[in-house]
């Protein structure tokens, strides 16, 4: 069973690597570097403005890192077929699940420590936390994550779900108490926080081991949870590339029907008919468009240099457009789409039109905070015009090539 876990883990990791290479492609990396650069500069500037610790510094740190603690799920890598094929080896599944528990920890741990390191300057400067206290704070987070994963693992066994739910509430309470002890009061209290977290974690881990050794796996729950977890991951990958076999669910959203264009039912408009409905009712692209547009507009509200505003707006236009591109191939696995007597060029035109409408809409929305913050001037107009040029270049020059490349793969 340990062996089975190891082969699964290797195969899973290879596949993740394959997709991550596609996610972190060169264009995306450039956009990320710019974004991190801009964020880094404003972070540094904001810190300079803080002279005495803020009253809300500690609460916000506790809240933010408590939220971050919820990131990271128990990865069991169980398949639906396991419920049938592994049934005879059920008694040995404990080994397998212990392997899964060990595998689930590193990723959330790295995220916690990375964000923790980023948070250090603010913790010291903005919240008046000592470095020692911050180190204890991060150790508590890591220890509690281990406890949380053991609890999640326990929930995959027969009759444990209810207990795991009760333990969830307790774990959150322990988390808040020990995190508070780490940053408030004298330094030695941090040790108390550490002790509480470690004790709780040890208890849950031993309970998990005992459960794994004695209880039967609750296949239905375990399969459903793992499928949901993997679906989330692959939905993310699907933003960058085509993940085979990923079907997304749709919602009717009747209130959005007012945005449906009244096109005539002719072959030239077939794909417009399909794409617009797919966009408005599908689970991913509409949300993505709204999220990025709102974040971009909010970010522009804080920028008062016209060329930086133009740069940020252009960056968001690129990000939105780039994330929408895989939608072009949304229906390419559908044999009926292939059979329609509609020329391929008409499909590309339909997607191009949708992309143009969406990016121009984002451009108009971005122009509002730009005018608001920068005032009406030649520079503002130049900045807004520059963003429009980016929109047009993206739609007419970049998108067709990128789509052709994606579909060739």
């Amino acid at each position: 069973m340990k062996e089975l876990w190891h082969t699964r883990q290797t195969r899973h990791l290879t596949q993740q690597l394959k997709y991550l290479r596609l996610v972190f492609n060169d264009h995306f990396m450039i956009a990320l570097i710019f974004l991190f650069g801009a964020l880094g500069v404003s972070y540094a500037n904001a810190l300079k403005g803080i002279l005495t610790p803020l009253w809300w510094g500690k609460p916000i740190l506790i809240l933010a890192f408590w939220a971050l603690l919820q990131v990271g799920q128990f990865a069991s890598l169980i398949f639906e077929a396991d419920a049938v094929f592994l049934q005879p080896r059920e008694a040995d599944m404990g080994d397998y699940m212990r392997g899964a528990n060990g595998y689930s920890l590193p990723l959330p741990l790295v995220i916690l420590l990375f964000v923790g390191a980023l948070g250090l300057p603010f913790a010291v400067q903005g919240a008046g936390v000592t470095v020692m206290q911050w180190v204890a704070f991060l150790i508590v987070l890591v220890v509690l994550k281990a406890a949380d994963l053991a609890r999640q693992g326990m929930a995959l066994f027969m009759g444990q779900e209810k207990r795991a739910q009760q333990l969830y509430g307790l774990t959150q309470a322990v988390a808040v108490v020990s995190l508070v002890l780490c940053v408030y009061g004298p330094q030695w209290l941090a040790a108390a926080g550490l002790l509480i977290a470690a004790g709780w974690s040890a208890r849950l881990t031993s309970q998990f081991r005992q459960t794994a050794a004695t209880q039967r796996i609750d296949w239905l729950t375990a399969v459903a949870k793992e499928e949901k977890r993997q679906f989330r991951i692959y939905r993310f990958y699907n933003l960058f590339t085509d993940v085979p076999g990923l079907t997304s669910s749709a919602k009717r959203r009747k209130y959005l029907d007012i945005f449906l264009p009244r096109v005539s039912l002719t072959p030239a408009h077939t794909f417009t008919y399909l794409y617009v409905r797919g966009f408005l009712r599908g689970s991913e692209y509409l949300g993505l468009f709204l999220r990025l547009t709102i974040i971009g507009a909010v970010a522009l509200w804080f920028i008062n240099t016209w060329w930086i505003a133009a740069l940020v707006a252009a960056l968001f236009i690129y990000l939105i457009g780039f994330q929408l591109l895989p939608f072009a191939g949304q229906y390419s696995n559908n044999v009926m789409t292939f059979l329609y007597p509609v020329p391929a060029a008409s499909q590309q035109r339909s997607f191009g039109r949708l992309l143009t409408v969406l990016l121009v809409l984002a451009w108009v929305i971005f122009a509002i905070p730009m005018v608001w913050q920068l005032g009406l001037s030649i520079e503002t107009a130049a900045g807004i015009a520059l963003v429009l040029v980016i929109v047009l270049a993206f739609v007419y020059l970049y998108a067709p090539r990128r789509i052709a490349k994606m579909q060739a793969n």
Partner: protein, 244 residues
């Protein structure tokens, strides 16, 4: 009329079909019969153009897909073995989309569709997402969207599995209507009793080759089994040593 002429093909480097030839004349129903893995689905994929032949041609009323893919597809309606639907479209919108894609007259086609929807008891589900329907009902949606077009060639892959007996009966009725109107119908199936009853000719596939074609009378003569039914002939074929 569908003509498959010396078709050899399959997936990238795995040849499945070897020198397959048969025709389905206008106004005829042909049954495509063979074991699992004999090449039925591969043959259909070549006909609808999902696969490209290594050698040989597929023509529908004198037209190949490489000459004009749009005009070629205009002539074909296809009911796949597993229903393929758009998760974001309602049943009504599936029909509208089909009208749009095939450039059909809206009013007349909706009249045809309404009749089919009533027949398959789907007429009260127009505003639902059919991808959430049961397998049999999704299959019915595929049948409705295929048979509301004025295609000249209907390709139906395993139509009877998952349909209730009433729906099987209704499907056979509309297939015969289309046959009477002069269309060609190619139907792959394992339900031999039904095939024997409704098909005019049969294409027996074995190991990617056409074992024989013809009417039931032709098959009886070929196999030397004068009072046999399609079941017996089929079993006899599977017991023959594989030709290589």
């Amino acid at each position: 009329m569908l003509t498959v002429d010396h078709l050899t093909g399959g997936y990238a480097h795995v040849p499945v079909l070897h020198d397959v030839s048969f025709t389905v004349p206008d106004g005829a129903i042909a049954g495509l019969i063979g074991l699992n893995g004999a090449g039925k689905s591969t043959t259909i994929k070549h006909i609808i153009g999902l696969l490209t032949p290594t050698t040989g041609t597929v023509t529908v009323n004198g037209l190949t897909i490489s000459q004009d893919a749009t005009a070629y597809h205009q002539q074909i309606a296809y009911v796949p073995e597993t229903p393929v639907l758009y998760p974001e479209l309602t049943l009504k919108e599936h029909i509208d989309l089909t009208i749009s894609a095939y450039g059909l007259p809206v009013k007349e086609t909706w009249a045809k569709a309404d009749r089919l929807l009533k027949m398959f008891r789907l007429d009260n589900k127009l505003d639902w997402f059919p991808s959430n329907f049961s397998k049999g009902m999704r299959q019915k949606v595929m049948i409705v969207t295929a048979f509301m077009t004025d295609a000249k060639l209907f390709i139906i892959d395993e139509p009877f599995t998952g349909l209730d007996p009433l729906a099987v009966h209704d499907l056979l009725t509309i297939v015969q209507e289309r046959k009477a109107a002069g269309a060609s119908v190619l139907m792959s199936t394992h339900i031999l009793a039904t095939a024997q009853q409704y098909a005019d000719t049969f294409i027996l596939l074995n190991n990617g080759r056409v074992r024989t074609t013809g009417s039931l009378a032709d098959l009886k003569k070929e196999f030397g089994m004068s009072d046999a039914n399609l079941d017996d002939i089929y079993l006899a074929m599977t017991k023959e040593p594989a030709a290589s």
